[in-house]
């Protein structure tokens, strides 16, 4: 018989018993008042009542602290007191009623066993009392007859209620349980997964339909068999037992476990399975229940997917390497295309970062004193650092020192190759030395931040990248060194500033090619000739780089030497041809125009050795390419015929010389380029600087020309009735000054007039040069009014008193040659004003 749950706590039991004692004591007291026979012993009854009252009070008072056994003992005491009271009351049967109460109490509040014990004790004590029993009084009978059924009826009905409620509850639970089990079974049977239940001994107790299908055993066959022998392969049985025991002993609240296991079918075949196992208590019995899923298909799909992924990864890896190699190869190609080192390294880091999917990449270049961070990609741009990183210091320095790749995992901020990387939360860094011919020329750094991560496996791939980078960097370094020398040399060969020539203005431009990082062999020069003219040189030595630049140097020096000796243009070019012909390097060749402008004769004489033709711009005429004076380029024949050609160059005309880089375009006829140039210069300009700018703006594409471009323009300033020039305070300026004056006066006076005025002005200019010393230029201006020539020479030096001899002679010469001579010394300088009225060309007067 199942125990019903305890419905009352001890406090209620104790108080109920206290009430029972009180009621018993009250009833006993009532018997004292009622008429009783002489056998009734009042004194003893009073004692019993007092004891009962004390017990009642104690029960009530200490109800909180009592235990079950106290209550039971108290009831036994009550029964005993009842026996004594019954005995002392004589024939009174009132106390039989109280016996009934005690029995009912016991049944109501105690469990069945204890209730029976109490009932037995009541029966024994009542039997003893009945041995001397006399028939009860009518009043007692009445009380028994009415009170006992009443109290018993109340209590019994209360007890029946309780029993009914208990059964109803149990019945409801049972029904729900049954329904639930049915539903569960239905679910379990239709489930795709096998559901197996084991008892505490590992014997199968539940086996659903899916289990039947999965294992080939029916439920009837399986249930009652131990799982370990039925479906567990022999080598896994020990482990199965261990797990099952561990699960049973584990008291954790939700002991659900997942296993991947191998199980056995009835036909002996095996299959992979996943099981989810839980421990369940069903009506006090501990069971182990688990779902089992056949994962053969899933495992196979997973394997296929893994294989596919592996294959894809392998292919991606192969493509990645191929891409890397080709990307790196492009860089090598770029280096071969002669780009600057700075361009190369910044391109390299960007490309390395992209190709390797790195978060940052940087290149340190080795210099004499250590490593310089030359380029970085990814993250914040590093601050430039003045001091190189010594070898052996810092991460990059250590890589360079060891000459071996290094992998740094989870670097501290202080360990990073440069501090700006801290922002990127870098978690792995690889540093690789860049080696060229055994020398460390730099360090390549590649960084990864989560989720990207570099491991030792990446080092070998990166080594490949580093080899290419080293190759490109090395090439660029060697090239840049050579390039720097050639560029310096070539720059030194171009005139730093053009000579200032009275009556003429000259402008020149030199633009190195945009794409070509190598200097070309273009050069130009402007030099005054002994005759007062101006030599213009535009040349182009074949080839590029150092060899071409040094050839330019030799040609330039030789040309200056020959020209300043006063040789005619054809003779000068002849000498240059001899120079280049005798070069050991037989491939040396150059095109050249040497032109001399004689501003007095207003004549241009030139020789063109295979160069694009000079362009002459005269007022009111279309641009004219000057043909003639042509010959083969220098260095082609030992003694070619260098014929001179000449053209008249009017006042205000402009001569334009240029190299082919200005007019030639790939795939285009040269004439097209020449026409383009002619159309640009068709609008006249009195300012050669403006003309140069205009031409370059129109003809040089954005980002630079494909080849070097040199451009030289000379403009003859038209001379009117007045002029004003600024001349350098150098003796060499005197010849130019004389040429200018002769040109100005050419139309006006006789040869004698001109010669004498030129001589007088020369004396004034000589004075100015000697006064001013190195202090800036002097000015000369001239004006003609009618037949009178008025010339002013102004210097900004300190006046020197006429010395005996030379300078005194200068002044007397001026006075002899001119009508009036005024010398005005001021603190700022000296002004000499010369005036002379022209005589007829035929006359030969003496003005002394």
């Amino acid at each position: 018989m199942k125990e019903l749950p305890e419905l009352f706590d001890l406090r209620i039991k104790a108080r109920a018993l206290a009430y029972l004692f009180t009621a018993g004591a009250g009833l006993a007291a009532l018997t004292l008042l009622l008429p009783h026979d002489p056998e009734f012993r009042e004194t003893q009854i009073r004692v019993v009542i007092a004891i009962a009252a004390v017990v009642a009070a104690a029960l009530y008072r200490f109800a909180d602290r009592l235990r079950e056994v106290h209550v039971q003992v108290a009831l036994a005491i009550g029964t005993t007191l009842l026996g004594f009271a019954n005995y002392y009351a004589g024939t009174s049967t009132l106390y039989a009623l109280l016996y009934t109460w005690a029995g009912l109490y016991a049944f109501y509040f105690f469990n069945t066993r204890m209730a029976l014990v109490h009932t037995a004790y009541i029966g024994v004590s009542y039997a003893i009392v009945l041995a001397s029993r006399e028939p009860p009084s009518p009043a007692v009978r009445w009380l028994l007859g009415v009170g006992t059924p009443l109290v018993a009826g109340l209590l019994i009905s209360r007890m029946l209620d309780r029993l009914r409620a208990g059964y109803a509850e149990a019945d409801e639970r049972g029904r729900e349980l049954r329904e639930s089990e049915a539903r569960t079974r239905l679910v379990l049977d239709s489930a795709p997964d096998a559901f197996i239940t084991l008892d505490a001994d590992g014997v199968i107790r539940g086996w659903n339909r899916a289990a039947e299908r999965m294992f080939g055993w029916t439920a009837e066959e399986a249930i009652g068999e131990p799982m370990r022998t039925l479906i567990t392969p022999e080598e896994h049985r020990d482990r199965h037992e261990q797990r099952r025991r561990a699960m049973l002993e584990d008291d954790a609240s939700s002991p659900t476990s997942h296993y991947e296991v191998e199980l056995l079918r009835r036909d002996g075949t095996r299959f992979p399975a996943e099981s989810t196992v839980s421990k369940v208590d069903v009506r006090g019995e501990t069971l182990v229940a688990g779902f089992v899923r056949d994962v053969t298909d899933r495992r196979r799909q997973q394997q296929e997917r893994e294989e596919l992924l592996r294959e894809q990864a392998a292919r991606a890896e192969a493509e990645h390497v191929a891409e890397l190699v080709s990307g790196m190869q492009l860089l090598v190609d770029a280096a071969l295309a002669h780009r600057t080192l700075g361009d190369i390294v910044s391109d390299l880091v960007t490309r390395v970062r992209t190709v390797l999917d790195a978060d940052a990449a940087s290149i340190f270049l080795a210099e004499e004193r250590g490593l310089i961070l030359a380029a970085a990609a990814g993250g914040r741009a590093p601050e430039p650092r003045a001091e190189p990183l010594p070898f052996g210091e810092g991460f990059a320095g250590r890589v360079a020192g060891r000459r071996e790749p290094m992998l740094l995992q989870d670097p501290e901020p202080s360990e990073l190759p440069y501090p700006e990387l801290e922002d990127l939360k870098i978690d792995s860094v690889i540093g690789l030395p860049l080696l060229a011919e055994g020398e460390v020329i730099g360090v390549l750094i590649v960084c990864a931040a989560a989720p990207r991560h570099f491991s030792a496996d990446d080092v070998s791939l990166l080594r490949l990248a580093a080899d290419r980078v080293a190759l490109a960097v090395d090439h660029a370094r060697v090239y840049e060194r050579e390039h720097r020398i050639a560029e310096t040399l070539q720059r030194s060969l171009l005139p730093e500033r053009l000579p200032q020539l009275p009556g003429l203005s000259v402008a020149a431009r030199y633009l190195p090619a945009a794409a070509e990082a190598e200097v070309g062999g273009d050069w130009y020069d402007v030099l005054p000739t002994p005759s007062g003219g101006v030599g213009l040189v535009m040349g182009d030595v074949a080839g590029k780089g150092l060899a071409a630049a040094s050839m330019v140097g030799r040609l330039r020096s030789a040309l200056r030497a020959y020209a300043l000796e006063g040789h005619a243009p054809s003779r000068v070019v002849e000498q240059l041809n001899r120079l280049i012909w005798t070069e050991e390097d037989e491939s040396q060749m150059a095109t050249l125009i040497y032109a001399v402008v004689d501003p007095v004769a207003e004549e241009l004489r030139w020789v063109n050795a295979g160069h694009p033709p000079p362009l002459l711009l005269s007022d009111g005429e279309p641009p004219e390419f000057l043909q003639g004076g042509g010959s083969v380029p220098l260095g082609v024949m030992p003694f070619p015929d260098f014929a001179e050609a000449s053209a008249r160059i009017d006042q205000g005309a402009t001569v334009v010389l240029y190299t082919d880089g200005l007019v030639e375009r790939p795939g285009e006829h040269l004439d097209t380029g020449l026409k383009r140039l002619a159309s640009i210069v068709d609008v006249p300009s009195g300012d050669p600087q403006e003309l140069c700018d205009r031409v370059l703006r129109a003809l040089v594409p954005h980002g630079g020309a494909p080849d070097d471009v040199a451009l030289l323009t000379l403009h003859t300033i038209p001379m009117s009735d007045s002029f004003s020039v600024e001349l350098p305070t150098q003796p060499e300026a005197l010849a130019s000054m004389r040429a200018l004056l002769r040109r100005w006066l050419r139309q006006l006076g006789s040869e004698q007039d001109i010669a004498e005025i030129v001589t007088a002005c020369g004396e004034a200019a000589t004075n100015a040069i000697e006064h001013a010393g190195a202090a800036g230029p002097f000015e000369m201006s001239g004006r003609i009014e009618g037949q009178t020539v008025d010339i002013e020479v102004r210097d900004f030096g300190a006046w020197r008193a006429a010395r005996e001899g030379d300078r005194g002679r200068g002044l007397s010469l001026m006075q002899a040659l001119m009508d009036t001579v005024e010398v005005t010394p001021t603190p700022e300088g000296t002004t000499v004003r010369l005036r002379r009225t022209l005589i007829q060309p035929t006359s030969n007067g003496d003005r002394q």
Binding site: G566, R738, E763, R807, S812, A816, L817
Partner: protein, 119 residues
């Protein structure tokens, strides 16, 4: 800048210095120096031939006066050749160079005037 060219010729104890081009501050000092050094102490006469000279200024004149002083100290004589009517002779006239040294119309005339030993 060599605007001026110089050719030296020795005929016995006569040294002929032919100056062509233009003689100004840029070329006169070096030209005078070159001529002075070209005259050996054994020479009796220096003839400076300006026939092909196109221009002379006070610097060129100063050069001549320097040569006169230098040669005089060595008891050597200086003669100058300049064609009349040309700008160069005009300048020589203005500074009255003939007071310092004889100026001849032609080289032959100058050489003819050179005194010969025991002639």
């Amino acid at each position: 800048m060599d605007l001026v060219q110089l050719e030296i010729e020795e005929r016995g104890d006569v040294v002929i210095a032919s100056v062509s081009g233009e003689l100004d501050l840029a070329g006169a000092p070096s030209t005078g120096e070159a001529i002075g050094e070209a005259v050996p102490t054994s020479a009796r006469t220096l003839v400076v031939d300006f026939t092909k000279l196109e221009f002379i200024d006070s610097s060129g004149i100063a050069m001549l006066f320097n040569l006169v002083r230098r040669l005089g100290a060595r008891r050597q004589e200086l003669r100058v050749v300049a064609r009349g009517g040309e700008p160069v002779s005009r300048v020589l006239e203005i500074v009255e160079f003939n007071r310092a040294a004889p100026v001849h119309e032609t080289l032959d005339e100058a050489l003819a005037q050179v005194p010969t030993d025991g002639a």
